[in-house]
C-alpha cells in the first residue's frame, strides 16, 4: 500500500516535469537564434504572459514552502508582510523603475541592466560590477530552490526520497531546461505554472476545510494550541522586522536579474499598465490561501518532521495522495521555472556584460550560446553542492539574497532619474553598500565602544536598511564631489512623455 502510494506520487511528479519540459522544447522550436529572442522573446510579451512570468518567477520555494513554514511557526502575519511587499511596494517600483527602464530600453535596445548603466556612464567596469554582484546574489537564491525541492519530497514521501535526491532532480531538470529553451519557453511554462498553482492552492484550501469541518474548528483548536496566532503582532513579528522585510525584499526583487530583464520585455506600455493594476489582486489570491494553510496546520496540530515543509505534510494528512503529489509537482515545477528564469538571466549577464566585453569581443553567437549554457551548468551544480550543507532555513537564505540585491536598487533609481549622477558616484554607491552588507553577513558581531558592530540589527532595524541608506548617500555624495567624465552620456536616460 505504502509502496504503491510512493509509486503514484513519483509518477505524478515525473509526468508533470516531463510535460513542462515538452513545452520548453516546443517553445525552443519557434525561438529565433538571435540573442534578443533567446533572452527577451523579442520584447513581445503580452499582459497575461508578462504578468505570470514575473509572478511565477516570484513563485519560488520562498513563497510556496518558506512562507507556509514561517506562518506555521509564527502565525499568519507573513501575509501582511508579503502583501505590502509584493502587492504595493513592488507594484509602485514596477512603475518607478520598471516602466522607466522599459522606456529607456525601447530607445536604445538594451537587454541587461549592466548594459544600460554601462552605456549611460561610459564604463565597462560598472557593467562588470553590476553583473558580478547580481550573479553573486543569484547563487543563494538558486540554492534555495534546490533546498525547497529536496525538503518538499522529504515531506511528501515521509522521507522515502532523501533530501539530496530531490535537490539533485531539480538541478538536472533546470540545467536541461535552460539548455534547450530560451525565454519564450520559460515564459510559457511560467504562465501555465502560475495558473495551475493558483487554482490548486484554492482547491487545497477547500479540501482541508471540508475534511476538518470548517474554519471555526481550526480556529477553536488554534485558540488552545497557538493562542497568539490570531492576534496581530507578537513573537517574530515586530513592526521593525515587518517593515524591514517588506522593504528589503521588494527593493531587492527589482534588481533580480530575471525580474529586471522582464522590465525590458513588455510588448507595449498597455501591458505594463494592466500588470501594474492586477498586481495586488494576484498577490491576494495567492498569498492568503498559501500562508493560511501554514498557520492552519499549526492549529490542527500537524507535526512536521525535521527538514520537511509543512504544505506537503498538511496535504498528505487531509487530501488524497495523488492531490498532494500534484501540488508538490506544481510547486517544484514553479521552482524549476523560477530557477530557469534566474539562470537564463544570470547567463545573459555573464555573456553580455563579462564575457563579451572583457574576454572575447568577437565571439560568434554560437560560441556565446555555448558559454551561456556551460556557465549555467557549472553554476547550478555548484549551488546544488552548497544546498547539501543547508546553511539556513529557506526564509533566511532567501532574505540574505534579497537584501544583497536591495543594496543596488537605490543607486540604480537615482541614476534613472537624476542626471547629476556620475560614474564614480554610482560605482562607489554600489560597491560601498555591497562591502557593508557582505561584512555584516560574514563578520561575527563585535562590541566596539558600546555598539555591537556587524550586528544583524541596529536599534531594532535590519542592517540591510542601513546599507540601502548608505548606498544612496554614497551615490549622491560622490556624484556631487567628483567631476563628470566627458565619456559619460548623461542624456542617454532622457526619455519623453511621448514614448507611449
Amino acid at each position: 500500500m505504502i509502496e504503491s502510494t510512493l509509486v503514484l506520487q513519483l509518477g505524478i511528479i515525473g509526468a508533470y516535469l516531463i510535460v513542462a519540459m515538452g513545452i520548453g522544447i516546443v517553445a525552443y522550436r519557434v525561438t529565433a537564434s538571435t540573442a534578443e529572442d533567446y533572452y527577451l522573446a523579442s520584447r513581445t510579451l503580452g499582459t497575461i504572459v508578462l504578468l505570470f512570468t514575473t509572478f511565477a518567477t516570484l513563485l519560488s520555494a520562498f513563497t510556496f514552502f518558506g512562507g507556509p513554514n514561517l506562518t506555521y511557526g509564527s502565525g499568519p502575519e507573513w501575509i501582511l508582510v508579503m502583501g505590502l511587499m509584493d502587492g504595493i511596494i513592488f507594484a509602485i517600483l514596477w512603475y518607478v523603475i520598471g516602466y522607466r527602464q522599459w522606456l529607456i530600453g525601447q530607445q536604445h535596445g538594451y537587454v541587461t541592466l549592466g548594459e544600460m548603466l554601462g552605456d549611460r556612464f561610459g564604463s565597462k567596469r560598472l557593467r562588470a560590477v553590476i553583473a558580478t554582484v547580481s550573479i553573486f546574489w543569484l547563487f543563494p537564491y538558486i540554492m534555495l530552490q534546490q533546498m525547497g525541492a529536496g525538503e518538499a519530497l522529504v515531506g511528501l514521501t515521509n522521507g522515502a526520497v532523501p533530501y539530496w535526491a530531490g535537490a539533485a532532480l531539480i538541478t538536472v531538470f533546470i540545467i536541461l531546461y535552460v539548455a534547450v529553451s530560451g525565454l519564450r519557453g520559460v515564459a510559457w511554462t511560467d504562465t501555465l505554472q502560475g495558473l495551475f498553482m493558483l487554482g490548486v492552492i484554492w482547491i487545497a484550501v477547500g479540501w482541508v476545510l471540508t475534511s476538518v469541518g470548517g474554519v471555526d474548528t481550526i480556529n477553536r483548536s488554534m485558540a488552545s494550541s497557538n493562542p497568539e496566532f490570531l492576534s496581530l503582532g507578537g513573537g517574530l513579528y515586530t513592526p521593525q522586522w515587518m517593515i524591514a522585510s517588506a522593504v528589503t525584499i521588494s527593493f531587492g526583487v527589482t534588481m533580480f536579474p530575471q525580474i529586471n530583464q522582464r522590465f525590458f520585455m513588455a510588448n507595449d506600455a498597455q501591458v505594463l499598465k494592466r500588470s501594474f493594476a492586477l498586481w495586488p489582486i494576484l498577490v491576494l489570491l495567492l498569498f492568503v490561501p498559501a500562508f493560511l494553510l501554514g498557520s492552519w496546520a499549526a492549529g490542527l496540530g500537524v507535526s512536521v518532521p525535521e527538514g520537511a515543509n509543512v504544505i506537503p505534510v498538511l496535504l498528505g494528512n487531509y487530501t488524497p495522495a495523488w492531490f498532494a503529489a500534484l501540488v508538490v509537482a506544481g510547486a517544484m515545477a514553479a521552482m524549476m521555472s523560477s530557477s530557469d528564469s534566474m539562470l537564463l538571466s544570470g547567463s545573459a549577464y555573464l555573456t553580455r556584460d563579462i564575457y563579451r566585453p572583457f574576454v572575447n569581443p568577437d565571439a560568434s553567437a554560437d560560441r556565446e550560446g555555448w558559454i551561456a549554457r556551460f556557465g549555467v551548468a557549472i553554476f547550478a551544480t555548484a549551488a546544488f553542492v552548497a544546498s547539501l550543507f543547508r546553511p539556513g532555513t529557506v526564509i533566511t537564505v532567501g532574505d540574505t539574497a534579497f537584501g544583497g540585491f536591495a543594496q543596488m536598487t537605490l543607486p540604480v533609481m537615482i541614476a534613472l532619474y537624476w542626471g547629476g549622477t556620475n560614474r564614480q558616484g554610482i560605482l562607489v554607491g554600489i560597491s560601498g553598500a555591497q562591502l557593508f552588507y557582505i561584512l555584516h553577513i560574514f563578520v561575527p558581531s563585535t562590541p566596539i565602544a558600546g555598539v555591537n558592530l556587524f550586528a544583524s540589527t541596529y536599534w531594532g532595524w535590519d542592517f540591510a536598511l542601513y546599507g540601502m541608506v548608505l548606498s544612496a548617500v554614497f551615490t549622491v555624495g560622490v556624484s556631487l564631489l567628483t567631476t563628470t567624465d566627458t565619456s559619460e552620456n548623461s542624456q542617454a536616460f532622457a526619455v519623453g512623455t511621448q514614448a507611449d
Binding site: P76, I88, L103, N219, L232, G233, G496
Partner: protein
C-alpha cells in the same frame, strides 16, 4: 502647476496605501470575522483599494514623473 499638484496627490495616495497595508491600528487585535482575523480583512480591503487606485492611475496619470524636463525631451525628439 496644476499637473504638479496632482503629482503630489498621487504620491500621497501611494504613501497611504503603503502605510495602511499593514493594519498598525489593529495591533494586538484578535477578533475573527467569518473565521479570519479582523486585521486580515483590513489587509484584503486595502489591497483591493490599491488595485482600483492603480488602475485609475494607469488611465489618467500614467507617465507622471517620467520626463525630467518636457522642454529638454522635446528638443530630443
Amino acid at each position: 502647476m496644476k499637473r504638479k499638484k496632482r503629482d503630489y496627490i498621487w504620491i500621497a495616495v501611494f504613501a497611504l496605501l503603503t502605510g495602511f497595508a499593514i493594519p498598525w491600528a489593529l495591533w494586538g487585535a484578535s477578533t475573527t470575522i467569518i473565521g479570519l482575523p479582523i486585521w486580515l480583512w483590513w489587509h484584503i480591503a486595502v489591497m483591493l483599494i490599491a488595485s482600483v487606485s492603480f488602475s485609475i492611475f494607469t488611465r489618467g496619470a500614467w507617465d507622471r514623473g517620467m520626463a525630467i524636463d518636457p522642454q529638454e525631451v522635446k528638443a530630443d525628439d
